[in-house]
Amino acid sequence: MGVQGFSNVRETRFWQRGFLASQSAYVLGALVVLIVVMALSSPNFLTERNISNVMQNFSFIAIATLGTTLVIITAGIDLSVGSTMALTATATSLAMRWLNDAGFYPFPGSAFILSVAAGLATAGIIGLANGFAVAKLKLAPFVTTLGTLSIVRGLTYVATQGRGTSPDGPDKGLFLAVTSARIPMPEGIPNLPVAFIYLIALALVMWVALNHTAWGKHVYAIGGNEAAARLTGVNVDRVKIGVYVLCSVSAGLNGIIISGWLGSAPANLANAYELTIIAAAVIGGANLFGGVGTAAGAIIGCILIEVIRNGLVLARVDPYWQQTLVGCIIVAAVFVDRLRSGRTG
């Protein structure tokens, strides 16, 4: 409705705005097609057992992808998430062993709580270092986190002499249950991996934070126009440090969950996962130039990558094709987005 009767200005149609106009929506469409094709071609794909496995597998990277998406929205990047997963898992299992060796067990569950807290604190410190370097020292995020990738992986090897560590002590059972259990469901419904439940809960929190808090709008504003955000009084440095800390902590949480599933924390845990995670975020619609990205997109990207891997396994195709295919999808997703924005804007 134009006050001055602007006949050439009309409301944008519903499919040109919101979720339907986003790259995430196109990728979701591709995912649905892929799932239908797989269901028709492989009788094992839609079995309860396989669905449960797929949910478990994408949850292993999806929590870290949520955090990485936050960083990407601010036009940053975090290459250190894979290393952070490893060091966090290592710190957690080392803490559990030390507490066991020291015989410190004041109440049931204490070893579990303290060691997970130690692990996540380690992740938080890594994030704080990344955020400080990017926000305060104004270092380029790519180079900074490339450095942290190496530093943190190195520390993991130093702390373990290159060997794996495994959680031990009175809370070992609790640790394994909380990280890798599957909740039995009634007949006909796939068993729910706990990691999937954490993922959904965290994604909901992230959705609320991004869309319904001032902090979320500041995250988007920094990605859209950092100078503008600064001029309007947004505390840019604090928000940036915050997203790097959240990214590291989300990666750490994923690392702990993976180590629970493996039953140990090898020093090379999650090696090169940062690339898969960033790929998932980008496929899900996060824009490396900043300003765009959602929790739903991050999860959609992770599901797509896992469904492809799973499909290749079921089709008895060499699973190493996965990397090649994921690469093609990244380029295709970015290309489709380019076509779309070229047409409308």
Binding site: G2, V3, Q4, F6, V9, E11, T12, R17, V208, N211, H212, T213, A214, K217, H218, Y220, A221, G223, G224, N225, A227, A228, A229, R230, L231, T232, G233, V234, G291, V292, G345
Partner: protein, 246 residues
């Protein structure tokens, strides 16, 4: 007593004297043009008033009281708003999100304070109606014309009932029709009793909207006179240095 007074403001960047002993006043409901060639010190002057730079020497007075404006947030708090040349808008947010950026309205939901989208949108719609702009509060800035972006930037200054609005080249790089829109917006600000400082290269804009013009050359004020007593030719001469002072 003037709303805003600058007394003997100088600003040096190392060996460069960007501003030399500049003084002027600004009254409520007055639209003053600030003109000068590139590098004459216009932007530096605006940045001092809006809290981005601190002067090397001199004093800024607001309502007769000396003030120390050390950040854009501080400037906004005491009633000085700036519309920047590049507009300082986030393309990926809507008009109303941009208007409220950094001072969002929130409501309590249980223990949390979440954004009050409806209230912000309603207020944004009101602001655009006041400005008689056809800009829609829910549209993304990336889809907007130059004039609409200008309206968003100006609407933002109206949020906190600013007393002084500094506008840096608001009509640069927009179409003729949009220029008319923006000049209308400035008229409306004046009617609301707001002091506007219009930094512009465009002679017609200044002569159409301003009651007074200040001309800068090489960091010094060379003229400060009523529009009625001046002419575009004289101002051009002052800007280029063909005429020393007036």
């Amino acid at each position: 007593m003037s709303l805003l007074e600058l007394r003997n403001i100088s600003k040096e960047f190392g060996a460069i004297h960007a501003l030399n002993d500049v003084s002027f006043t600004l009254d409520a409901g007055e639209v003053v043009g600030l003109m000068g060639d590139n590098g004459a010190g216009k932007s530096t002057l605006v940045k001092i008033i809006s809290g981005i730079y601190t002067p090397t020497s001199g004093q800024v007075l607001l309502d007769g009281q000396p003030v120390n404006i050390h950040s854009p947030g501080e400037a906004r708090r005491i009633g000085i708003e700036t519309v920047y040349q590049d507009l300082a808008l986030a393309d990926n947010l809507t008009a109303s999100e941009n208007i409220f950026l950094g001072r969002e309205l929130r409501r309590k939901v249980g223990p949390f304070r979440l954004l009050d989208h409806a209230a912000m949108k309603a207020r944004a719609v009101e602001l655009f109606e006041e400005l008689k702009s056809e800009t829609r509060a829910g549209d993304y800035v990336r889809q907007m014309s130059g004039g609409q972006r200008q309206a968003v930037a100006i609407a933002r200054t109206r949020l906190a009932a600013a007393k002084i609005i500094l506008m840096d080249e608001p009509t640069a790089a927009i179409s003729v029709r949009q220029v008319a829109e923006v000049l209308n917006l400035i008229h409306r600000l004046r009617e609301a009793g707001i002091a506007v400082m219009l930094i512009s290269h465009r002679m017609p804009d200044v002569f159409e909207t301003c009651s007074r013009v200040i001309v800068m050359r090489r960091g010094s004020k060379v003229a400060d006179k009523a529009i009625a007593d001046s002419s575009p030719d004289e101002v051009t001469a002052l800007i280029t240095g063909a005429k020393e002072a007036a």
